[in-house]
Every structure is written in C-alpha cells, then in structure tokens.
C-alpha cells in the first residue's frame, strides 16, 4: 500500500493526454485504458518523482477540491495503489530524477 511519504513516477510504458478535466491513459504493455477524473488528473499531473504524495494531496487535492484531508488521503492512496498495480505509476521512498519532456 502506498504511503503518503512516497514519491510517484509516471511509467514510461504509457501514452497519456489530458482532455479538458479528464486524463486518458493507455498502457503500451497491455493496451489497458484508464480515464482519470479531475482529482485523479491533479494527482497524475503532480506525479513528477520529486513531490511526495502528502504534498500532492495537500496542495493539489485539498486546496482545489471540497474534500477533507482524511478523505483525500484515503482516496488518493487507494487510487495510487490501483495505478501501481497496473504498472501505470511507480512509487519510491526517495525522489526519482525525471527526464525533461520535449
């Protein structure tokens, strides 16, 4: 289970695009499709390998959406666990250097 002090990194084996408030993600390994809602999109876009989940929850979820810290933490860890299970996100207990996007 993801800890809130973990760092999140988007997998390289995905295609993704934000469409309005939603994000479309497809695994290039098994073509599984995911559509993230606006809260999921906020977490996804902040998964830069340098920001711990606790900060993402505080800065990107609680401050932007009408949700308590406790509820946001429960939902976000469940969400992260689900994406990790499908190889869409990876988690690390130390920051992960990222390549700059073109």
């Amino acid at each position: 289970m993801a800890s809130t002090e973990m760092y999140l990194t988007q997998s390289a084996d995905i295609a993704s695009r934000t469409l309005g408030d939603d994000t479309l993600i497809m695994s290039t390994l098994d073509s599984t499709v995911f559509v993230l809602n606006s809260v999921g999109t906020a977490i996804w876009n902040a998964a830069d390998g340098a920001t711990p989940l606790s900060r993402i929850i505080h800065e990107r979820v609680c401050s932007e959406f009408d949700v308590t810290d406790e509820q946001a933490t429960a939902d976000a860890t469940e969400f992260v666990d689900e994406l990790v299970k499908h190889g869409i996100l990876s988690i690390s207990d130390t920051p992960v250097p990222q390549q700059e996007a073109p």
Binding site: A12, D13, I14, A15, S16, R17, T18, L19, G20, D22, L24, M26, T28, S31, V33, V35, Q99, A101, P102
Partner: protein, 369 residues
Amino acid sequence: MSLLAEINDKATARGIPLAAHMDITWRCNERCVHCYLDHDGKGEMSTDEIKDVLRQLADCSTFFLSISGGEPLLRRDCFEILEYARALRFNVKLKTNAVMIGPKEAARIRKLGIEQVQISLYSHRPEVHDAITKLPGSLRRTTNAIRHLKANGVKVSITNVLMKYNSRDVKAVKQLAAELGVNFVVDPTITPMLNGDRSILSLGITAAELEEIMREDEYVGDAAEDCAPASSHDDDVLDGYSCSAGHSLAYISPFGDVYPCVQFPMPCGSVRRQTFREIWYDSPAFTELRSVRVRDLHTCSHCTHNASCSRCPGLAYMEGDFRGPSSVDCQKSYLRTGIPSAAMLGAENRVPLIPSGLVQISGLQRAIM
C-alpha cells in the same frame, strides 16, 4: 458503448483532434499496384518541422498518432521522430511494409512502446505478394520482420487488402496471420489516387466477391447483424456525422498540408503557413465540414441505410460532392442487405450502377481510427 467510443464522442463534442494520421514521407521502396500516392519526396517537412507539428498536436490534446507513409522507415530520422512522439506521450501506431525491420529495429520499436505495427500483406504466395509490391523478396522480408517484432513482444496487425489478383488467398493469409500470432484485418478498399486518378479502382474485387466477404462472420464479426436491413432512422442519426474525419481526426501530409483524413483530400491549410490549432479550429473547410449533419446530405438523409451505412465523405468528395453519396458505400449497403440505396433508386434511370469489378469499400474496421 466502449470506453474509447465514449472518449471519441467527448472529443468530438469538445472539438478535440483526438487522432492524427501523419505521413512523414510518400517515398516508398515498394510500388504497390493499388497505391493511391505518388512517391515524390521533394519538399518533405524537415525533422524539426515534424517535431514542431507533433508538439502542436500534443498541445491540441491529440492522443492517437499514426505514423505512416510511403514507407516511413525510408526517412533516416524515422526513429528520432518516433522517439520524440513517444516522449510527448502519444499512443503511436506505425504503418510500414516492414521490409527494413530486422532484429535491431524490432527491439528498438519495442523499447519505444509503439502501440502497434500495422503491415499490409497481400498473399501467402511470394509470386502474388511480390508482384503486387513489385519488390522481389518482399513477402519473405515482411514475414521475417513480423517474426522479429513478435519475438520482441510488439503487437502486430496485418491488413490484407483485397484485389482481383489476391482475393482467393484471403483464407490462407488469415491462416498465416494465425501462425505468426498477429491480428488480421481484411480490407476490400481500393481508393482513388489523391490526384483524382480513378484507374486503379479497376483492380478491386467483384461485387460477388465482396458480398461473399461481407457475409462471413470471420471477416466482419457478426455477419447476420451486419447484413440485417437497417432499422428506421431517427433524429439521433440525422443529427449525427458520417465519420470522425475533421471532427476528431486530422491527416497531415509529408509536406505539411492538413486534410480531414488521408482518404479525404479536401485542403484545409498548411502547417507551414499557420499553426495546426488555427487550421483545426478556424479554417473555412473544417468549419464547413463540421456544419454538415446527416440530415443535410441531399440524398443520404432520406436513404433507408443511413443509420448503418459506412458512407465515407472523403470518397463522396472524390466523386465531386462530400454532401453526396459515396457510390461504393451505396453498393456495399446494397450487397449487405439486398436493399438499394436512395442514390441507387434515384439514379436508376440516369446512370448505370457501379459495374462489377469496380468495387471499393471502406469502414469494415470498426476502430476508432
């Protein structure tokens, strides 16, 4: 409705070009007898120009990207372009004849996370396949490439384009696809050349052969459902569009010209003179295309097939009027159901129906692109 179909509908409603088809060259190392392109490479976009267009597409939220040609691997920068597209997180499909793909290239394609490699394969017999491509040894090289791709875990789909030369090989090609462990798609589509030359349509299969294909579950899924007479149409159908071309799909030529689809050569602009965003959202051609609903089609709006017809506005355009019927799709609806289309009924006393042997159809693939 599938998740991807829902997303496509949302993209259309929001005006997002969810899918783009980009030919990075029209040059080719094969000379397929039915090809709709000329193979002039003069004036192709540079690597930097293509990368710029890819960034613009990503900014417009394009997700599905088909890189095609010509033979895209003839460009020395093909892998650089693919790598750049993947770094921009596109879902990339590569359309190639694969004859330049060896073990090293296959491993590289896998490493890049290319979603699928789509390859045309015409026959299991070298004398037929190679005669169509006019490249000796091409069947052997293409099938070897498929084995390399499969060994690296790359998803491969072969398309069997049917012509009078190879139509009797369709079952054997399907069997070959099964042996190779790849997806198989049958495509009885012969398209007029983009310069308007329709002579290659004479290579198409006969109406009888097409009817046989359309009534086989193994090629069309549920043939009984596919061939059932159309249900009565309603306002949802009349308020809808013919296809995604220009609504959520754009085509970009190697020279930077933008069209609704590779099969719909209506000029909409050039990325060498304007941004893609300006063309997509503001060009008069796209605006006009998007204003047309099924109810605005002068003949098809009252056709009994309009809820189920695969009418291709690009083929209609190439016949002179994108608001008009596409005669080959009329023929297809007729062969599916035995019921003549409105255009056929209206034309009976004016012009002859399409003669056998000049059949082309599109839309058997019910995919998002």
